[in-house]
């Protein structure tokens, strides 16, 4: 039983970057824009965040740099797809390819650098025998992600601003006719999404590994993209999905450590195969997706004067 506590702790940690990125993408998609650049934004944020943290000696400055990098990349993306009405799919792919190159260049001098390891514990709660080790000795961002999921479900479904955001995603024409600035709302959503992906990337290089290796995000940006339809665009279901995938990732590590006679490469395929399986399961019912998906997702909107 005691062996289980570190596993749960590791699964929560592995699920956190997925959750942060997926929550950001969820807000993007609720406003009607799909950003396939998540992998690129996470990579650049991971490299830049790590570089800044090594130079400044503070991981918090690194996190800020990562979030800022994600937001700046998202701003460029927003200018292309929201103002110039360029193809969202192609622009997102370009952002991801661009991010792979940029992050490799930024991170090159920092390959092999290390950060001082820090341990965290919530006073009092972390002393509880089993639960303390499993739940209450995490990096603050792990809890921030949970709070963010709660806050987003409140924001989207209980506030006026959330209602407007969803209206923009469901019918930009109607929202425009009512006088809402559709383009600026979408820009705000994209900036938020970029900052979230940036935080997720910085978490990868500053807390999860913690080091920089080329292409270290390893498809998590894409898995996060698959999490939003999996969660039928609900924040709390994103939380469940992210921890599920975190659990699968940790399970594969643990099976290797236990010496299960399956090659490590085959075990490492599990998260990717699980993503495909999840996509198949949720996409099977076309109506289910159609009801839940923001109606204008991926469509170009040009306001008439």
């Amino acid at each position: 039983m005691d062996a289980l506590a570190p596993l749960i702790a590791a699964a929560l940690m592995a699920g956190t970057p997925l959750m942060l990125a997926a929550l950001g993408l969820l807000v993007n998609e609720k406003s009607g824009v799909i950003n396939l650049g998540s992998e690129g934004m996470m990579l650049v944020a991971a490299a830049l965040g790590f570089a800044v943290a090594v130079e400044s000696g503070s991981t918090w400055v690194g996190f800020a740099a990562g979030a800022l990098a994600g937001a700046i990349m998202a701003a460029g993306f927003a200018w292309l797809v929201v103002w110039l009405s360029a193809n969202q799919i192609a622009c997102g792919l370009a952002l991801s390819i661009f991010g792979v190159g940029v992050s490799a260049s930024i991170g090159l001098p920092y390959v092999g650098a290390t950060l001082k390891a820090a341990s965290w514990a919530i006073p009092g709660l972390s002393e509880i025998p089993f639960l303390g080790r499993a739940l209450f000795q995490q990096h603050p961002l792990v809890y921030t992600a949970i709070v963010l999921a709660l806050a987003l479900s409140w924001f989207l479904y209980r506030t006026r601003a959330g209602l407007i955001l969803r209206a923009v995603g469901e019918s930009p024409e109607s929202a425009h006719a009512l006088g809402y600035p559709v383009r600026r709302i979408r820009l705000a959503a994209l900036l938020f999404g970029g900052a979230c992906c940036g935080l997720a990337g910085a978490f990868m290089s500053l807390v999860y590994t913690p080091m920089w290796v080329e292409n270290m995000v390893a498809g998590r940006g894409w898995i996060a993209l698959a999490l939003t339809p999996f969660a039928t665009w609900r924040p709390m279901r994103v939380l469940v999905g992210a921890y599920l995938f975190g659990g699968i990732t940790i399970l594969t590590f643990h099976m290797q450590a236990l010496g299960v006679p399956i090659a490590s490469q085959l075990l490492s395929m599990l998260p990717y195969l699980a993503t495909i399986l999840v996509l198949v399961l949720i996409s099977r019912n076309v109506d289910w997706i159609r009801i839940n998906m923001p109606a204008s997702l991926g469509r170009v909107f040009i306001p008439n004067r």
Binding site: L93, F98, A104, S105, L108, W222, A263, T275, L279
Partner: protein, 354 residues
């Protein structure tokens, strides 16, 4: 203030001008980037864009890089025309290289004699089947379960790379290779013919022939017309009785097979064995090639030439200027961004509004 005004109809001139403009913008961004890292911009751009073309060896190396890019990009252009976003060409290339290597390793041990053109052709066919098989998974999941082809094809890239790593660490590893994760070198009779003195191989001729076929297919054959209509106007295509399922399967199997051929040509050409890294991201760069080439076979030929130039220029700027080799990826991304921004001018024009 400058503002965008919709044009009455798309500008044909901008259709051709936009990639040229994008290339100029990319060069400008590159110059700024060189200034930013404290290098002479003119010298930097010279190394990147001109130096590779100043020797026969440079042209030959461009041919080496162009072959896989062109093969993958032709297939992707067909896919994108039909609105099927297959972005997993990298994975299909890897599986093609595995299949071709398995064939060669099985037959170059005496079973297939001294090799020869028919054995090479069969190995390429094996690669094509491997790539088509990998793409067929995407087609089946999309057709049967409506699973998003972007995410499925991308996830399969990671699976394919892990499969390759598993095989070269296991059953396909050279038993006399001191434990290095790679297969043994293929026998000479199973390697593609090369231009003497260079590394450029028959794959580039194959790629150009495929481009020619794709041009005929799109311009002259009913199936190509069906594909284009299905992408441009799905409702019109359905009304005309064109099957969208056939288009989905056709373009995914075709592009998978072409990516597989690219993988086969890599292992039987410049590499000569199966290694854990058969491709430096050709499958992803091919996405950019397809878009920059306007999804048109002739355009794709030019675009793959430019992208191959970026690869060689990137390698040169690494050795001569000490820039990281990832500079290639940055330029690829900037080129696609610039193109997408310039493409706005096809359907809209700039107007000065005081």
């Amino acid at each position: 203030m400058l503002e965008l005004v919709p044009r009455a109809e798309p500008s044909r001139r901008m259709m051709w001008l936009s990639p040229v403009l994008a290339l100029a913008l990319t060069a400008l961004c590159g110059a700024l980037m060189f200034i930013g890292v404290g290098k002479a911009p003119v010298q930097g751009l010279y190394v990147l864009f001109v130096a590779p073309l100043s020797s026969l060896q440079g042209w030959a190396e461009i041919g080496v890089k162009m072959a896989p890019l062109l093969l993958c990009a032709i297939g992707l252009a067909l896919c994108f025309r039909a609105n099927v976003f297959n972005i997993g060409a990298e994975g299909q290339l890897v599986v093609g290289s595995i299949a071709a290597s398995a064939f060669v390793l099985a037959f170059d041990d005496g079973l297939g004699g001294q090799g020869g053109w028919y054995m090479i052709a069969l190995a390429i066919l094996a690669g094509a089947l491997g790539g088509a098989f990998w793409a067929s998974i995407v087609a089946w999941l999309r057709d049967r379960f409506h699973a998003n082809e972007i995410l499925v094809s991308l996830m399969l890239v990671y699976v394919a790379e892990l499969l390759l790593s598993y095989l070269v660490h296991g059953v396909m590893r050279d038993p006399d290779g001191f434990g290095f994760p790679q297969s043994r070198m293929f026998n000479d009779g199973f390697l593609l013919p090369i231009l003497p003195g260079t590394r450029v191989h028959a794959g580039i001729i194959l790629a150009l022939l495929v481009a020619l076929w794709a041009w005929l297919f799109l311009a002259r054959l009913l199936a190509g017309f069906r594909l284009t209509v299905g992408g441009l106007a799905p409702l019109a295509a359905r009304y005309a009785g064109f099957s969208s399922r056939r288009a989905l399967w056709g373009c995914l199997l075709g592009s998978g097979a072409l990516a597989g051929v690219a993988g086969a040509c890599e292992v039987m050409g410049p590499i000569g064995q199966l290694t854990p890294s058969v491709s430096p991201g050709y499958g992803f760069a091919a996405i950019i090639v397809a878009f920059v080439g306007r999804l048109h076979p002739v355009g794709v030929i030019f675009a793959s030439f430019i992208m191959a130039l970026f690869y060689i220029g990137g390698e040169l700027s690494q050795t001569r200027l000490g820039m990281p080799s990832a500079i290639t990826g940055i330029f690829q991304g900037i080129l696609l961004f610039s193109l997408l921004a310039c493409d706005v001018l096809i359907h809209q024009r700039l107007r000065w509004r005081p």
